[in-house]
């Protein structure tokens, strides 16, 4: 007779919700069969990491869709990077002696490995191995996605490129150590490069008139 039960919007559902309040006030001492089977069914249908992942909504397709094998899945792969395969940083920590591993990773040892909450994810680890070309491709063709984010993170934090928000280009400052000699007043020279995504898809030197203006660059 309660007014709430007269509301046509809710009256069909309300009694089911109210019934569950009994269990909150006085839980069953022993699980009745119905509850056991509900709990087991919940276990069976337990959501997994794919269910918890971000909703997969419409994404602007690449300008030139390319054919892929029918054996490739349509969804993005989110696999787990095996933990026992160390990143170069972890190799560096573990191999303080001159073992073979340390020597073969000398190239990686010189690379930066910025640490944040993304560092230990598989994707971020894979991005450390990508060529600059690949990173720029992802940046310009997967705009608004997590992939673009990871590419810009890798470029900015590990490769020291800077993003210009005026011309939408990535820039790199090269510092060349000059040999000691009578002709120079300084011991290092700065030159800038940028990646030309519009025309040549190459990295080009900036002209001598290039002036670095901090406010033009995105603080990432």
């Amino acid at each position: 007779n309660n007014k709430a039960f007269q509301n046509p919007l809710f009256k069909n559902e309300l009694e089911f919700w109210i019934n569950t309040k009994k269990q909150l006030l006085q839980p069953y001492k022993e699980m009745p069969n119905k509850m056991v089977s509900q709990l087991e069914s919940s276990l069976l249908n337990c959501p997994d990491s794919l269910d918890a992942d971000s909703p997969y909504l419409y994404q602007i397709p690449l300008s030139l869709p390319h054919p892929t094998s029918i054996f490739f899945p349509n969804e993005p792969i989110r696999f787990v990077y095996p933990f026992d395969i160390n990143t170069p940083v972890e190799n560096n920590i573990n191999n303080n002696d001159n073992s073979a591993n340390a020597i073969s990773d000398t190239e990686n040892l010189n690379k930066k490995h910025y640490e944040d909450m993304y560092s230990r994810t598989s994707l971020a680890k894979i991005y450390t191995k990508f060529d600059l070309d690949t990173l720029f491709f992802i940046f310009y063709h997967y705009q608004g996605t997590y992939d673009q984010f990871l590419a810009s993170r890798e470029l900015s934090k590990n490769r020291d490129w800077k993003y210009n928000k005026v011309d939408y280009c990535w820039y790199y400052k090269e510092i060349e150590k000059l040999p000691p000699g009578a002709n120079y007043n300084k011991d290092e020279e700065e030159s800038w490069r940028y990646f030309d995504y519009k025309k040549s898809w190459l990295s080009r030197r900036c002209g001598n008139d290039f002036v670095y203006k901090e406010e033009d660059f995105e603080k990432l």
Partner: protein
């Protein structure tokens, strides 16, 4: 007696010796068995 938590900590990505880092932001699921794929964490893209 509880259980040896080493593998659970390992699956969570909690290191014992090296630098501590956040794990809840990339938490896949409460169980290792349902955490077979990584999940997309929060991220920000400037305009």
């Amino acid at each position: 007696l509880g259980a040896d938590l080493t593998s659970m900590l390992h699956s969570l990505g909690i290191p014992r010796d090296s630098k501590r880092h956040r794990v809840l932001d990339t938490f896949q699921s409460p169980w290792a068995e349902t955490s077979r794929s990584e999940v997309e964490p929060t991220f920000f893209i400037p305009d």
